[in-house]
Symmetry: D2
Subunit: 359 residues, 4 copies
């Protein structure tokens, strides 16, 4: 069972390699009669697009989405929704020199050993190019969630050692999309941009943290015991290229707290059962409790750097690898929309799954 | 689609509530002709058992596993393996006083809202009692992995603020099972035990970190793009009660490193392709590369404490909740075997999935 | 991926061998708050039970169902429902003489070759004893369907060469359960019984046809293009031991009709869109259209006979096999409730799946 | 969970409507390093193509397959294989007159009720145009099976009342592809063609039977108890448009046989365990036994006819429907390759699933 599908009832299957004819996907299980807002969809694509600012790779991709099926007069019909994004600006010859070499911390070695064959052009299937298909599906999921009042927003909270030391409640999240690093703090965003520009100059790369906030989920999403809502969110995030860690609510900071501090006491607010604190991150026993869901995701520094590195080629010889050309010093700002897309897929899937219990 | 199954080819489905007649599960997809070592299985159960030491709950459970099917003359037959563990020492009356109250940071509220009905006895399905079934299946998975030379070992690396500041390579992991807190450092383990005893006295609780090491996996486990090996490990760990975070390899510490530091250069060792460093944690592009797989899991402090807490009952009235009786100040030492079990389920499942590509 | 689970949202996983400690199953995905009527459940079990009449095997099984989980005060909680049926009246020694021999048209040979091991006692996992678990799950599905006004009834329409030459609309189906062969025609049922008694005397066996009628399904059940409602019904029926054929609506008789005869014209009845004829069998394009769903299932004559047969043993020697002891000359009357159970599982599963499209 | 995917390990997901931009699919789980023979693939497409002879619809479709991913230098890479077939010769205006009318025995009514919206152009998703994607995937599956010596061949054995009264062993199956009706008997094929031409003249339609033979499967394919090999074959066949019945081996004719006649005695042939007869159709206990697998599939007469029919429109008014234009009097000859494709998908999937048990 290969792993190119995600979700149970709202199921996305993706395909495509970095330098093939096209990438894309099929969404199976989208409820019918959903109006697909093409403008919104393209905006989401543009948030992920390479070349959108001075701090990302200058590879140009038009990222135009074409729908092949599942829509009739702009509405979903209940049939599978297939879409493709043609690859353009493909310079496969750029990769001829690495075709026999395993780039450090890339997937070249593992793909070649697993499959006995490797499409080396641009990383083939292991390229983050594939995440464009996730953004398309995520945008459609967001449209469905909007109709149910659920909102999802992610932002950059750390780049390298530059850290935003504020909880999300203290921030104006609207600011995030107003700067190219997508950090909702003007001062910090400038520091982050400077940090990335410095790494770019050095031919080096940086990692960071994205924080994601989901508001207004109904109580009841999540399926114990294995498909707990945060377990599915965690898997979704860890499936994104370069992600090394995930924490929900209090996360790793819970360790230094005692139960008497960490427990979220129940209180009444407007006659509704709410919690006083929200260390649980909106999920208890694996099921959403109606409070904000929030989580952090750690991204490693990008593996492609422009400095020489030791490696091995596929004949078993030691080589010195030197990559030149385009380079993305920090993918974290562009990954914000991917994080939101994966969150939207998880929440939508559980929204549909929870319908079993409605009477 | 309810969430009580885990795995694709080696599939565990669990059932059972804390105070029902029995808990248990069915394993479907276990290869045939595997000898089930009953002693090993019981040892694993004993590592999870409550009441095993002074620092855990004193609830007694015999935790005797009965196999109902799938074995013939101690060997697996390829038929589904069903097993039950009868519940004993059930004091349901202990729970009569909380039957209408939502315990803070427990699943009482979310279960009642999701399902419209709640088995309040001992937390019902949300009880960690359920993890006993995972240990049974994990033990069988371990037997299969042993035949393929894969080993899995987890240990406690932090309790509250007491932290083991050593990498796993610097430790003698054999020491871990020689103390009741399962920390592979004599000095630190004593400090941790003292910390737990103090919390116990205060009717409070503590969290911690478990580190898990998987050695000798073949190259090739993991299915891009969604079922990356660490994504499935992450989901597995986050599905364990009280887990708040997961990080693979360098994890959250990757953020403060540059690509030039973090990349794992390839080198030849004994004519084999190996990596000089292992920040990747044994997984690249979602596929195992043959290096050690290692990850950390954060556990929150247990939600059950013996101090008074504010809450709400199911008629919407504010109440003061005071729980008495048995209490587990820190579940982390007992969770070590659960972490190993879930890791074993993931690795075994991917071992079988990877067979597609063998020719 | 082993094949012991059935259904997507209402999922049954079964376990158990003919001569193990118990058989049983887990139902995952049953909506909560469904009252389980224990009397109804036992009645259904009794309809399948061996030894219920002079024309079935005299093997005695108490067929008492014990629920281990998922119920609280007789209602489903949304947690997985586990149940077991202990095996009694096990005479494994009866099977010592066939332990090395492959019984013709049984699964002995294929199981041994596939798994490299065989639980030969009573056919092990391949025994029809397993269908008892299906009847339990089917009974619960029926309770859910009853709340939604759907009814399912099957009956015997042919035994050997004795055929009931009437369409179901011409019959009083209530008569079916009043005779031991479950045929809704007094005259024919007597002939069928005589036929079975004759086969019993000869140590031979008979096959037959079961017809199943499902009334009052809502319009909309079935998921094109692969999970068409009749495709899932067909798979369900073909998974029952001894079934060799399935036809929906007009079935094989459609071949000798022209389109102008076979098409079901639409008409208005009580202002509702109905069809004048129903050759489609209540399903069009794979989706229920609200008309009666009806289908036929062909059962081969039971493989166990008391006459000598040529065979091979597992050392490759030709042997003469002579089975003595208990023997079921015709399983068709007892299979009526199994057919209904599988139909109920399919309809319930699609009922839940169809909820995706409700707005 | 929508139903547009088929298979567990070799999984096909299809998309596309009759008059959308394209139809196509994704195959996930195809083993790597399989050489895709483009000529063979196009031959298979041509066998299904409309307009190939005087007895089929004259709609023209180029049916050119474009692969978008998963291949590198003509070989599979282990990545998902996406392919599209653009729709051409689309005359959507032909359908304007039926846009509000439910065509008898078509899916118009059920789709509109299920989804609340209908793409009426050419039947939308319910069109048999979708089966072209199955043929692509089936061709790839056949290439994999060829490497493992398995062969699959189907042929027409009945059209209307013209029946081929011979068992497949008595026929020269090579003749089948030499006539336009795909019947391996020169005399009968002429009679069938005449029958179809007569129906065409009358604006009427005919059904028929396709017989399929699978040779050289290894012993061991099929997963009891629900995913028996013939249960999965049955579902596959019943998911094809216009199929009303399926029978494996002796099928419905088993009913009039006694166990002593029907049982397949084991014998030694060339020191191998074989069966003397093969009423089982190559499958025992749901698992292939190495004998030929054979089965029959009943197709109803096509629903589109050129005669006036009573119907209802979507405002609830009774109307007289008269369809003109292109018309397929009998789809059975073109369905031969679809049957083979679905058989290839099932056998390939079970081939991969069976690898679990190899040691």
């Amino acid at each position: 069972m290969a792993g190119n599908s995600f979700g149970q009832l709202f199921k996305l299957t993706t395909f495509g390699e970095s330098h093939g004819l096209a990438i894309g996907g099929i969404i199976d299980g989208c409820p019918s009669n959903l109006l697909i807002d093409a403008n919104f969809l393209q905006q989401e694509m543009d948030r992920r697009k390479p070349g959108q600012s001075s701090i990302t790779t200058q590879r140009k991709e038009s990222d135009q989405v074409e729908f092949l099926s599942g829509l009739f007069e702009q509405k979903t019909t209940g049939a599978p929704i297939a879409f493709i994004i043609k690859n353009s600006d493909i310079r496969s010859q750029d990769y001829a020199d690495i075709k026999n070499v395993y780039r450090p911390s890339h997937a070249d070695f593992t793909y070649e050993k697993k499959y006995g064959i490797r499409d080396y052009r641009g990383g083939g299937r292991s390229s983050a190019r594939e995440t464009a298909a996730r953004v398309v599906a995520g945008a459609i999921a967001k449209l469905l969630l909007q109709k149910n009042s659920v909102s999802i927003q992610a932002y950059v909270s750390q780049i390298g050692n530059i850290k935003l030391n504020k909880a999300y409640q203290e921030l104006d999240l609207n600011i995030a999309e107003q700067n190219i690093v997508r950090c909702p703090d003007a001062q910090k965003s400038n520091e982050m941009i400077a940090e990335i520009e410095q790494a770019k100059k050095e031919g080096d790369s940086l990692g960071g943290i994205i924080t994601c906030i989901i508001k207004n989920t109904p109580v009841g999403l999540g399926e114990p015991v294995f498909d707990k809502l945060h377990a599915d969110l965690g898997k979704a995030m860890l499936s994104i290229n370069a992600v090394k860690g995930f924490e929900i609510g209090s996360g790793f900071s819970a360790i230094s707290m005692k139960g008497s501090e960490h427990n979220d006491e129940f209180v009444l607010k407007n006659k509704q059962v709410k919690t006083k604190t929200n260390y649980s991150g909106g999920i208890q026993g694996g099921i959403s409790n109606g409070e904000d869901i929030y989580f952090n995701i750690a991204f490693k520094p990008t593996s492609t750097i422009l400095q020489p590195q030791h490696s091995i080629d596929n004949t078993g010889k030691e080589v010195m690898l030197e990559v030149s050309g385009r380079h993305d010093p920090c993918v974290v700002p562009r990954a914000v929309v991917i994080v939101e897309a994966m969150a939207a897929l998880v929440i939508t899937d559980h929204f549909l799954r929870n319908k079993i219990y409605s009477t």
